[in-house]
């Protein structure tokens, strides 16, 4: 079968887009519930349980409430910027998902369909470019509110997000070097052929995770909204639906981050230890590898959802476990730790790959295993030499003292009566 005709492409594209978009919005709403449920579970309490069975309709109730609630626009705020900010924040969060493949290609009467909204040749670059627009929403929202807490949150947001954007970009370079391209479906098929990139590029994964926690403003990096310091940070003055839009954008970014982690490092929709799904859809519509089937598409889709769900769980889990960094610690972690380490990592990885090429080892499982060995060594170096059980260098940079305070026990004698 050849490629889809233009008409079929457009119709199927629109259908896919709608399906994925709606499904994904539902997922985002579900994550807001999942966060509260999991938090409750971690903290020995019930969580939302009034609206529907197990509180399942809570997101719907929240949405309705937010539509009907009174909105307050503070005096002295810049009206149009104030209204625009949540849109700017939400729009990129909702469109980045377009280039992430969610399942194996689906055979249809009109040809084999790629399960992705848009198979752009610029995949990762598209994500970086669009996602970085989100910071404007935060900054403008913070600036336009005419409130000092919002303002502080806004400047914090801008400084933090652009800092970690450099770190995030650098953490993706190793993948580009190994993969040699930026389209996500090809990354998936390469991981199917060799190894999931988590093994040969595990240090890169570490960097990516740190950067993405900061980019999505999740604890321990939630500086822009740090509720105990800046009340609600950049969205202090936002209420009702506009507040909900900021929250939706945050959760949407989190889902995207989780999906990207799954795709870039954990094989995307690939089902491990099973070659039945190792298929690639070429541009001309032909399928290389295993034969596509609707049930394979379903299975791989579920697999992708499971992986994404796992990383969302990690995001939530971390949030309810650790305290928050201080702002200067976040910045120093980004600039003084992550970026230099990433530069060194890129250099080391490049050297190793050149050496493997020089040895004549072809790209494949063996190649990946050699890189894995290098990464394990680097990981050990980071853990035991660079970090030395401080977990994150930035956390303790300001202090120059042993970790555990010596607590002396002083025995008192009651000398009071003697002293008279």
């Amino acid at each position: 079968m050849g490629p889809l005709s233009t008409k079929a492409f457009l119709i199927i594209g629109a259908a896919k887009m709608l399906m994925i978009f709606v499904g994904w919005l539902t997922a985002v709403a579900g994550v807001t519930l999942a966060e509260r449920k999991i938090a409750a579970w971690i903290q020995d309490r019930s969580g939302p349980n009034r609206v529907g069975p197990w509180g399942l309709f809570q997101p719907i109730a929240d949405g309705l409430k937010n539509f009907l609630k009174e909105e307050v626009r503070p005096a002295g705020s810049s009206r149009w910027v104030f209204y625009l900010a949540p849109v700017i924040s939400m729009f990129p969060a909702m469109v980045v998902f377009a280039v992430i493949p969610i399942a194996a290609p689906l055979p249809t009467r009109w040809g084999t369909v790629n399960m992705i909204v848009a198979d752009l040749p610029i995949g990762i670059l598209y994500i970086l470019a669009i996602a970085s627009l989100g910071v404007y929403g935060l900054v403008l929202g913070g600036w336009s509110s005419n409130s000092k807490y919002s303002f502080l949150g806004g400047v914090r947001a801008s400084a933090q997000m652009i800092s970690y954007e450099v770190a995030l970009g650098l953490s993706l370079v190793p993948i580009l070097m190994v993969a040699g391209n930026v389209t996500l479906p090809q990354l998936v098929s390469q991981q199917q052929d060799a190894l999931w990139y988590i093994l040969p590029l595990m240090v890169g994964y570490l960097f990516l995770t740190a950067s993405y926690f900061a980019e999505t403003n999740r604890l321990p990096f939630d500086m822009p909204e740090a509720e105990s310091e800046l009340v609600a940070g950049f969205h202090t003055e936002y209420s009702a639906m506009k507040f909900a839009m900021f929250m939706l954008a945050e959760y949407a970014n989190m889902v995207t981050a989780a999906a990207l982690m799954a795709t870039l490092f954990f094989g995307g929709w690939d089902i491990p230890f099973w070659s039945g799904d190792n298929m690639t859809l070429a541009a001309d519509g032909s399928v290389a590898g295993a034969a596509p089937a609707w049930w394979k598409t379903t299975l791989t889709g579920l697999c992708f959802a499971a992986k994404t769900g796992f990383f969302i769980l990690v995001f939530i889990w971390v949030r309810w476990t650790v305290p928050r960094f201080r702002y200067d610690q976040v910045m120093s972690l980004g600039w003084k730790v992550l970026i230099p380490m990433e530069v060194v990592y890129v250099a080391l990885l490049g050297g190793a790959m050149l050496y493997l090429d020089y040895l004549g080892i072809p790209f494949g499982t063996r190649y990946a295993l050699y890189l894995t060995a290098l990464n394990v060594v680097l990981m050990l170096v980071i853990v035991f030499v660079v970090d030395r059980n401080r977990i994150i260098l930035g956390a303790g940079w300001r202090q120059t003292r042993p970790q555990r305070v010596k607590s002396e026990w002083i025995e008192y004698a009651d000398r009071r009566q003697d002293s008279r």
Partner: protein, 119 residues
């Protein structure tokens, strides 16, 4: 293929539509009774003094300038990374020199105190 961009436009339209509907819809549906006290900017319940949008500490903007420099460099690294395998040793050595410059620049900023946040 250029036609792959059409679904992107579609999802742009859908997202923008949803976002605008959210803003406009809540604008129409919600009940508004602003009072002077209600629309006072929040500052822990106190009337704020001083202008919010005033000259602010320069450190945040220094970070923005650093970002501009480094992000451009990251973009170069992207293009290099994609063609890394075909460039071989020549490309590697070139980029090593480039990274060295990058690191020297970062070290300079570091020593100059552009990355310090306190006092």
């Amino acid at each position: 293929m250029l036609r792959e961009y059409v679904p992107v436009l579609m999802i742009f339209a859908a997202s923008l539509g949803v976002a605008v509907i959210m803003v406009v819809g809540s604008q129409i549906l919600s009940n508004r009774r602003p009072t002077p006290v209600k629309s006072e900017p929040y500052e822990s319940g106190m009337p704020p003094i001083g202008d919010t949008r005033e000259r602010f500490a320069v450190k945040y903007y220094v970070v923005a300038m650093l970002f501009l420099l480094f992000d451009v460099e990251v973009v170069i690294l992207f293009t290099w990374g994609i063609v890394f395998k075909s460039l071989g040793l020549f490309g590697y050595v070139t980029i090593l020199i480039f990274l060295l410059l990058l690191v020297v620049g970062l070290l300079y900023e570091w020593r100059k105190g552009a990355l310090e946040w306190e006092r």
